[in-house]
């Protein structure tokens, strides 16, 4: 498995997810009244699905730079650990190495860490490149599609809630951490009652502080 031709079937499942989800991002971006060519550019420069979805609403509402940085930090915090299982695939090149690191999305991580089909860094780099291409092409297609959609069509932005629901279900399925679920619900309730405008910021800071300060039960440290 060391050719362009071999990478295509390998990344096919990601393609089937990234093309339509990228397209939804492009449609939402244009619908929110944002500059159309920045949709594919965001997919090139940022390349983080859930964060890009979230940014649509934030940018359209004119939210500040700090909020954007905090949102990026919290939404993508889980990526902090992905690299731990990808050392053996890290390319050597001065361009390849940072690009590989840049492209470790949820889906790319799952493919590279779990499939066992990718064993060399050259193929891994191609997987990253192919996956991002799907995402960028999808975003561009969405921008074009948005012009053909009937005006007054409501509710497409629910895709963001749906995406987070899927991620939440998968997180819960993997970790069965009901305490963390309860913590998320509690933080939302407290922040919702206190602050309307800075809801997400307040609630997520609450999560981090509680998780850092809460005494951990003995013998739980090993399960990372």
């Amino acid at each position: 498995m060391n050719s362009w031709r071999g990478v295509l079937p390998l990344t096919l499942p990601v393609m089937m997810g990234y093309l339509p989800l990228g397209a939804v991002f492009g449609v939402l971006w244009v619908d929110a009244g944002l500059s159309w060519y920045w949709a594919p550019l965001m997919s090139i420069i940022v390349y983080a699905g859930a964060l890009q979805y979230l940014a649509v609403g934030m940018l359209a509402a004119g939210i500040g730079w700090l909020d954007l940085a905090v949102a990026a930090l919290l939404v993508n915090f889980r990526h902090l650990f992905y690299g731990l299982s990808l050392y053996h695939l890290l390319p050597k090149g001065a361009v390849g190495r940072p690009y590989f690191i840049f492209g470790i999305t949820d889906e790319t991580y799952s493919l590279l860490s779990a499939s066992g089909q990718v064993k060399d860094s050259r193929t891994a780099l191609l997987v990253v490149l192919f996956n991002q291409s799907y995402w960028v092409i999808g975003s561009l297609a969405g921008v074009l599609l948005a012009r053909g959609l009937p005006t007054g069509l409501q509710g497409l932005d629910f895709a963001l809630a749906a995406l987070f629901t899927v991620l939440a279900v998968e997180q819960i399925r993997a970790k069965k951490d009901w305490w963390a679920v309860a913590l998320g619900l509690t933080a939302a309730a407290v922040a919702g009652a206190w602050v309307g405008e800075y809801f997400l910021l307040a609630a997520s800071v609450m999560l981090v502080l509680v998780l850092l300060a809460w005494p951990e039960p003995q013998g739980e440290a090993a399960h990372v």
Partner: protein, 109 residues
């Protein structure tokens, strides 16, 4: 927003995300030696995805739970589909369709 604003937004989000993805490659020992960071890494994503789901549902704008009826129905559809079929795209598209059907008055709802 000017092109410079878009560029700044892209760079902020891009650099933070890149920093997170690069961290384990430059600071493997730090993660291995800090239990609190490991706890955060294990538990924060679960809590955060729950919180982000609620945020995307607009829960902070509801006066009463009834205000979120449309969103709650659609989120339950997404969650059940995801638990059952485990196909992210299917769950997202069908759930969004259910939401849009309610919002646009299709099916006479």
């Amino acid at each position: 927003m000017s092109d410079l604003d878009y560029l700044l937004a892209a760079l902020i989000m891009g650099l933070v995300t890149f920093g997170l993805r690069a961290f384990p490659f430059v600071a493997r020992g730090f993660i291995a030696h800090h239990r609190r960071i490991q706890v955060l890494g294990r538990r924060l994503p679960v809590a955060m995805m729950v919180l982000l789901t609620l945020y995307a549902m607009g829960v902070h704008r509801w006066e009463a739970p009834a205000d979120g009826q449309t969103q709650i129905i659609a989120v339950v559809v997404v969650a059940v589909l995801q638990l059952w079929r485990r196909q992210a795209l299917l769950s997202i598209l069908l759930g969004t369709l259910v939401y849009m059907a309610q919002m646009n008055g299709w099916l006479g709802l």
